[in-house]
């Protein structure tokens, strides 16, 4: 604090002296700014050092990130992949969404729920109405209570939501050795790294854990999972599903498709959002250009006018 006041007092005195000079010379010349560049070099050096010290101490105090976890607890950072659907002018690849839904149905759905996605949301996105009705009818749902107050079962409709594999969290934990398989509806939004993280997780299982890594009974080693011990084993092997469009079902292809599908489940509005954003940007660019033109049009007489002061001629 003491040092700061000392530093501050020096430029103040200099500034005061400068303003004194300026007032004395104002009468003689009307052109400002010619003498304002003549600040002494020691003032500049002192002010620069003071600024550097202030910025440095502020960065030291507030700018550092605190890491409470070890790198193993943090998990390996996911690789950045060039997702085509993540570009600002690209929609989802709907053929990939369809393949990804197939992977979810045949692989993921045995443990993971997708409770926030209704059957109807696939219609016109990845499947036809008839295909989706057939999928929905494979599942049974509770009816409203009938006249006797009994709840019966009915086949699913398009407006029903995808049924979870387990009736409740306790059943899910019991069936999976105490670990709860998370709901996948919003998983892409809900994990740091999003698509990159899930793709890395799905494809990142090593054949055996590296030397020195302790893996508990019933757990699996995955360097991308925070803590490296994950209850989910590797599920995607080459040829686990058979794609109807003939795409080779390699591990990375299935992982890519299911990640894009999960991104759609989390952001089903993305296609429309990007399209509307593109339209809005186009339109607003035109309006901005118009407003610039109007401003210049309105200001041109003001900017080009000349104000002349003719002093009164003193009477002799």
């Amino acid at each position: 604090m003491l040092a700061r006041t000392v530093l501050r007092s020096v430029p103040f005195r200099g500034a005061a002296r400068q303003s004194l000079n300026k007032t004395s010379s104002r009468a003689s010349s009307s052109s400002a700014g010619s003498e304002s560049t003549s600040s002494p070099i020691h003032l500049t050096v002192t002010a620069s050092i003071a600024t550097a010290v202030a910025l440095g101490s502020a960065t030291y105090l507030y700018g550092q990130e605190a890491f409470a976890m070890t790198p193993a607890e943090e998990g390996l950072h996911a690789t950045q992949y060039p997702w085509e659907h993540a570009k600002w002018n690209k929609t989802f690849d709907h053929a990939a969404l369809r393949r990804g839904f197939q992977v979810y149905r045949e692989v993921c759905a045995s443990c993971h729920s997708l409770t926030r996605v209704p059957w109807r949301s696939f219609v016109g996105v990845t499947h036809t109405v008839d295909e989706m009705k057939a999928f929905a009818e494979e599942n049974e749902y509770d009816t409203e209570p009938n006249d006797q107050g009994e709840i019966e079962k009915r086949p699913g409709k398009l407006s029903d939501y995808i049924p979870p594999p387990y009736p409740n969290e306790e059943a899910a934990r019991f069936a999976n050795g105490g670990a709860l398989p998370p709901d996948l509806s919003l998983i892409v939004k809900g994990r740091h790294g999003g698509c990159n993280y899930i793709f890395s997780l799905l494809t990142g299982y090593p054949d055996e854990p590296p030397a020195g890594a302790a893996v508990q009974e019933g757990m699996n080693f995955n360097p991308f999972f925070p803590g490296t011990a994950i209850a989910m084993a590797r599920v995607l092997f080459d040829g686990v599903v058979e794609y109807e469009d003939g795409t080779p079902a390699t591990t990375s292809q299935m992982a890519k498709d299911v990640v894009e599908f999960l991104n759609w489940a989390a952001e089903p509005e993305m296609d429309d959002r990007k399209k509307m954003g593109f339209k809005a940007l186009t339109l607003l660019t035109g309006l901005f250009a118009l407003s610039v033109w109007v401003k210049r049009y309105k200001w041109s007489p003001i900017k080009t006018r000349k104000v002349v002061y003719s002093p009164p001629v003193p009477r002799r």
Binding site: K90, A95, T128, D130, K275, K279, T282
Partner: protein, 69 residues
């Protein structure tokens, strides 16, 4: 030149209020239709083969097969 154009615009569109209002409304609709059509076309060119309308022809006929099994 510009004066003649401006005066012809004034005479045909702006002079009578009913014509002026009508031209504004018609112009708004015409601009929206033209803008939407052109931007949609650009969007579909960027995303050729990616959207549902590009791939649905493969599945519209297959619906009956999937009902059987």
């Amino acid at each position: 030149m510009a004066g003649a154009l401006a005066s012809s615009i004034y005479q045909t569109l702006i002079r009578r209020n009913a014509v002026y209002l009508t031209s504004i409304f018609v112009g708004a609709f015409a601009f929206e239709i033209a803008f939407d059509t052109s931007t949609n076309k650009i969007w579909d060119t960027w995303n050729r083969g990616r959207q549902w309308k590009d791939i649905k022809y493969q599945y519209m006929n297959k619906a009956e097969e999937e009902d059987e099994d």
